[in-house]
Symmetry: C2
DNA sequence: CTGAAAGCGCTAACAA
DNA sequence: TTGTTAGCGCTTTCAG
């Protein structure tokens, strides 16, 4: 691996000259410029980002730490963030932690230690708060989709309360009275907020609320249904934690011999691609996932001195997409 | 951000002492050890990985560069790789390029410039070969699932030819004669190999082969079907590029008023979670995706001096999972 | 067990 | 336009 010294030697100039010319070739004219450029090309020279970073610059990496990249929701968040990062000459790298809190902290730590300009983060549970706070003292941290209580970290998110309320309202309008909420893990603020929205609407309607704690996966939804679809009075509608959960519920309903939406309606969250392709297609609350990632990236980058973050929108709205399932 | 000098000052010792003690505390006893450890803790000192990397070490990051992280197949590959990397004290970071060749090269370059010990890579097209080769001179590159022609880069992959042949054979055994292959983009070696397997079996059976080039997405599958399900003699079975493509085909079939599998059978590839939850559930060729990632990581890490790679398996087998769709 | 000194590859004043 | 000199934060000989 050729270093700047090799290029300097080959071109017969000083290292600093090479650095300058390579850094901004247009600012030079003489034939030194040509010699340096040629030597660099010939030796296939690439400046070490490590050395650059050590000497003043920062890492070109913007980590996005998420609980589960196999949930396409996060893939879209990543996509949105990427677009913004690319414009600033930076690269999004996705770190998936599998919901393991230790792995989560380890990733955050590792990235912070690499002097990344900022970190985009969706916590899987509140328990990381203290550690994240300590990391945030060194590196700008922006949360996506889930806030961290006892913390003043900024968070770009969807108004989950409002969204869940709208979803619940939709189910009631369709005449449902026994509406159950299969929530995500209550350790996630997004799950708690959605439950709150659901509960408010049920209360206002004078209906009993029932919450089953599940998780954000297909298997979780299917498993939750085991408790739901067997009793004497199964619900006529379910507000699912997200689309993956909803897909699991769909399968469980079919296995239990229930027709969707006639016997039981299912309402998802996210609007993944798959939502319109399952059978029946999924009625869902669309989250503007790419924009979530984009706004978060803009905020974080602004903090790190890249661009302006004054017009970042912190709270986005979900949109009800009505299809067949509810 | 406290540096090693701060700690040294606080503990009243030399920087090198701090370095040594922090690097391997068990090897020391005296009360200097205590002072240093305490000072480090008190100052919340974290060694800069950048500086460590510059001074001999390598980056703790193992990039996994894939075309599309919203395809859960790659999420599973990542998961498999992660397990191996973690054991070596390294972190997998996922770089999703959206199939954009330029972004792909940019990512590879950026990671290589960061002195990562190795790179795990699934190329989206053959056109990157030359550039990848140049990067591979600096950083160990291991390909996953798709090889790069004109290149001696090692590749951990599934035997796509064999797998596609087995799938096609399954369809023929079920009595199908008009079997069409909706392939992935022919710029991907995996797609070409699957087509080859399909073609061989069709040829041997004396049946006409028909290949429609699609891509690896739901939308791609649906779009391909537009050409397929309208003509006078639609196929009675389709070998899909992958499960996402198959899901798109399922939707298209339903829209065209065709029943699956009675009017048209659909055979997928990958066995994503969603495969067993769509309706009808998907018959598919399961790829051992996590193991693909794991073996690739082992090979790459061995190259970089972490662990042993002598028993790495380069070619894995797919498994036919029969469900409802074919 | 500890200190001194050199060096990883690069950038950034400061002079010339 | 170019060279000189420091220095980023850490590890690692080599002495003591």
């Amino acid at each position: 691996m050729a270093t700047i010294a090799d290029v300097a030697r080959a071109a017969g100039v000083h290292r600093s000259t090479v650095s300058r010319i390579l850094r901004d070739p247009k600012a030079f004219r003489g034939e030194t410029r040509t010699r340096v450029l040629e030597a660099a090309a010939r030796l296939d020279y690439r400046p070490s980002r490590i050395a650059q970073a050590l000497s003043g610059g920062a890492s070109p990496l913007v980590p996005l730490v998420v609980p589960d990249i196999s949930n396409p929701f996060f893939a879209r968040v990543a996509r949105g963030a990427e677009e913004i990062a690319r414009a600033a000459g930076l690269h999004i790298v996705v770190c998936s932690t599998g919901g393991d809190v230790e792995a989560e902290v380890a990733y955050l730590q590792a990235m912070s230690d690499l002097d990344t300009p900022c970190i985009l983060f969706t916590p899987s549970a509140d328990t990381v708060a203290a550690q994240v706070l300590s990391i945030a003292r060194h590196t700008a941290v922006v949360l996506i989709d889930r806030s961290l209580p006892e913390t003043d970290l900024r968070c770009v998110r969807v108004d989950h309360v409002q969204a869940a309320a709208a979803g619940t309202q939709h189910l009631l309008t369709r005449g449902h009275r026994r509406v159950v909420c299969v929530s995500g893990p209550m350790s996630a603020s997004s799950a708690r907020e959605r439950v709150a929205g659901y509960q408010t609407v049920m209360d206002e309607a004078g209906l009993p609320a029932q919450v089953v704690e599940g998780d954000f996966t297909i298997a979780g939804g299917r498993h939750a249904a085991a408790q739901l679809f067997v009793g004497g009075e199964p619900p006529t509608a379910v507000l699912a934690a997200n689309d993956l959960c909803a897909v699991g519920l769909l399968t469980a309903a079919r296995e239990a011999g229930l027709r969707v939406p006639d016997d039981v309606a299912v309402l998802g969250f996210d609007d993944l691609d798959v939502a319109q392709h399952v059978n029946p297609s999924l009625t869902t609350l669309r989250q503007p996932s790419a924009e979530l990632g984009g706004q978060a990236a803009r905020l974080a980058l602004a903090d790190a001195g890249f661009g302006d973050g004054s017009d970042v929108v912190l709270t986005l709205q979900a949109e009800l997409i009505v299809r067949e399932s509810a």
